[in-house]
């Protein structure tokens, strides 16, 4: 049987400073297989970002093991296989004097390797990925002059220019309107049909239940991991336990969202 794309075994992580220790993750076990679209959800402070940083190798493992494509993350080198889209607002330097083309092309940096410069073939890849995201007309535009939705599409293009087999997205649709959110998920479905494995971190539950194949609920430990339908059938008590406050799934139009006593989540 093929290796899972991601395999997390007994992952625990604790933030430590001089005065106190704060546990962020406890004994997480999770497997994501090739072509899966998995949404990782949980409330603020639930450890989603910590887990993402561990999976991306930004934080060093304390306990447990993470394998990517069967290889331990401790000596994993093929990061060009992993496309990553961060929360755009925290990610890039505002006012940076670079064009969309330059930014998207920079996604090939790791794949090209040290001391090599971009060539005609790389520019062809740039052209193709810009067409895929419908942003060819923005190629020579300054990145800091784009709207929120356009900027996010540029970052998705940067993640996709390598043709990654794994795509990791951290709250990618924050601040984007419904029309562009739909366009964004259309692109994800297109990638999924090409067997790209997608791990989406979000707290927008209403959207993920309609799009992801599987949902994993995190709040320090993994409270639930199952299919989209199993997640929809979770009871109010179980959801409230995960989120730590009264919560229920409600439907409106074609979408379902999560609401609490304090309003829509």
């Amino acid at each position: 049987m093929a290796h899972p794309i991601f395999e997390l075994k007994n992952i625990s992580y604790t933030y430590k400073d001089k005065l106190e220790t704060t546990p962020a993750l406890k004994n997480i076990n999770l497997q994501v297989h090739k072509g899966d679209f998995v949404a990782l959800v949980g409330p603020n402070g639930s450890g989603k970002t910590t887990l993402l940083k561990l999976i991306l190798g930004v934080l060093r493992l304390q306990t447990g093991e993470i394998n990517i494509n069967g290889k331990s993350i401790r000596n994993y080198q093929s990061w060009q296989e992993v496309g990553y889209v961060s929360q755009k607002s925290n990610s890039f330097s505002k006012g940076f004097p670079a064009t969309v083309g330059e930014v998207v092309l920079s996604g090939l940096t790791k794949e090209k390797g040290l001391f090599k410069r971009f060539n005609r073939k790389d520019r062809q890849k740039l052209k193709e990925v810009l067409e895929l995201l419908n942003i060819s007309h923005l190629q020579n535009k300054n990145i800091s002059l784009l709207s929120g939705g356009q900027t996010q599409r540029v970052f998705i293009a940067r993640a996709l220019i390598n043709n990654p087999s794994i795509l990791v997205l951290d709250e990618p649709t924050v601040g984007i309107d419904a029309k562009h959110v739909k366009e964004f998920y259309d692109v994800l479905f297109k990638l999924k049909s090409q067997s790209v494995t997608i791990l989406l971190v979000t707290h927008d539950i209403g959207v993920v239940v309609d799009h992801a194949d599987e949902v994993a609920c995190l709040n320090e430990s993994l409270h639930f991991h199952g299919t989209n339908n199993e997640f929809k059938n979770l009871g109010e008590a179980e959801l409230s336990k995960i989120y730590g406050f009264p919560l229920q799934l409600v439907s409106h139009d074609h979408e379902r969202s999560t609401t609490s006593d304090t309003g829509a989540y």
Binding site: S93, T99, E102, S106, L108, R117, L145
Partner: protein, 283 residues
């Protein structure tokens, strides 16, 4: 001045050194400004001053001439390493590294100046630049540094771009940390190479002002580098010409020309001669 360039070696050496500084200082300055590290250049230039005064003191101590440019470069590189170390120690207050290293550089300068029995004419040249101080050895050293900087930018441009634009993404892509380390060393070398012409106290201006001017009139990163070099070279050529004819230190004239170019680009940008587009879609 053209006749002087033909007739006098030292004028020729200064001019060529100035052209090299006008090329490499804005090139490296582009990454410094974009990464919001402008003050690091100031801190390192003060450490370089410590090295130069140490060279002057050592010369007086051992009774033979030691080229202060060499001691300046050594101190500058160690200062760069110190800044990187301190930025690691104060992860949440990384800018603290700058005043710490800067005060260290100034304190060393004062100490060695006092030990070497005070200020001399050479030191004035190091502080504010000099059109007559560049000898053939200095020119060779500055040329070697120029080549090193150009090779660094040619080979590591794409990594430097990614690290400058989005450090988090560069970390995820596992772009080697030593590139940043190498970058800081290269900054130290550029400061050492440029200080003979513009002077220690104004060297950071040649790294930042042409970039600040270019930012007003460019929209791509490559354009920014090209325009920064054009502004840098214009400042050096006009500044050296004025310095020669007015018989004043070139550091002042070069930096004043840079400031004038900056003012012009700001005004041109304001009146919309160079318009950068607005978002075409609203979200």
């Amino acid at each position: 001045m053209i006749q002087a360039l033909i007739d006098y070696d030292f004028i020729r050496y200064s001019f060529i050194s100035g052209l090299i500084a006008g090329l490499i200082a804005p090139l490296i300055g582009t990454f410094i400004v974009i990464r919001r590290l402008s003050l690091i250049a100031d801190a390192l230039s003060h450490v370089t001053l410590g090295g130069i005064t140490f060279g002057v003191y050592l010369s007086s101590l051992v009774g033979m001439t030691i080229n202060p440019l060499i001691t300046g470069i050594i101190f500058s590189v160690f200062g760069a390493l110190g800044i990187e170390r301190l930025r690691g120690v104060y992860k949440h207050y990384q800018e603290l590294a700058i005043p710490i290293i800067m005060s260290f550089g100034v304190a060393l300068s004062v100490l060695f100046l006092s030990l070497a029995d005070g200020f001399n004419q050479d030191l004035f040249g190091y502080l504010f630049g000099s059109i007559s101080a560049v000898n053939s050895f200095d020119l060779i050293l500055i040329s070697v540094i120029g080549v090193v900087v150009l090779i660094f930018i040619y080979l590591l441009y794409k990594e430097m771009f990614l690290v400058s634009f989005d450090e988090e993404y560069a970390n995820v892509m596992n772009i080697s940390k030593w590139i940043h380390f190498l970058f800081i060393i290269v900054v130290a070398l550029v400061i050492s190479a440029s200080m003979r012409i513009v002077g220690i106290l104004l060297v950071s201006a040649l790294m930042t002002l042409p970039v600040a001017a270019a930012m007003r009139v460019t929209s791509s990163f490559k354009q920014l580098m090209i325009m920064s070099v054009i502004f840098g070279e214009l400042s050096v050529i006009i500044g050296l010409f004025l310095s020669f004819h007015l018989d004043v230190s070139p550091g002042g004239t070069i930096v004043l020309i840079s400031l004038a170019l900056l003012a012009v680009t700001i005004i041109l940008d304001r009146i919309g001669v160079k318009r950068r587009g607005e978002p075409t879609e609203s979200i």
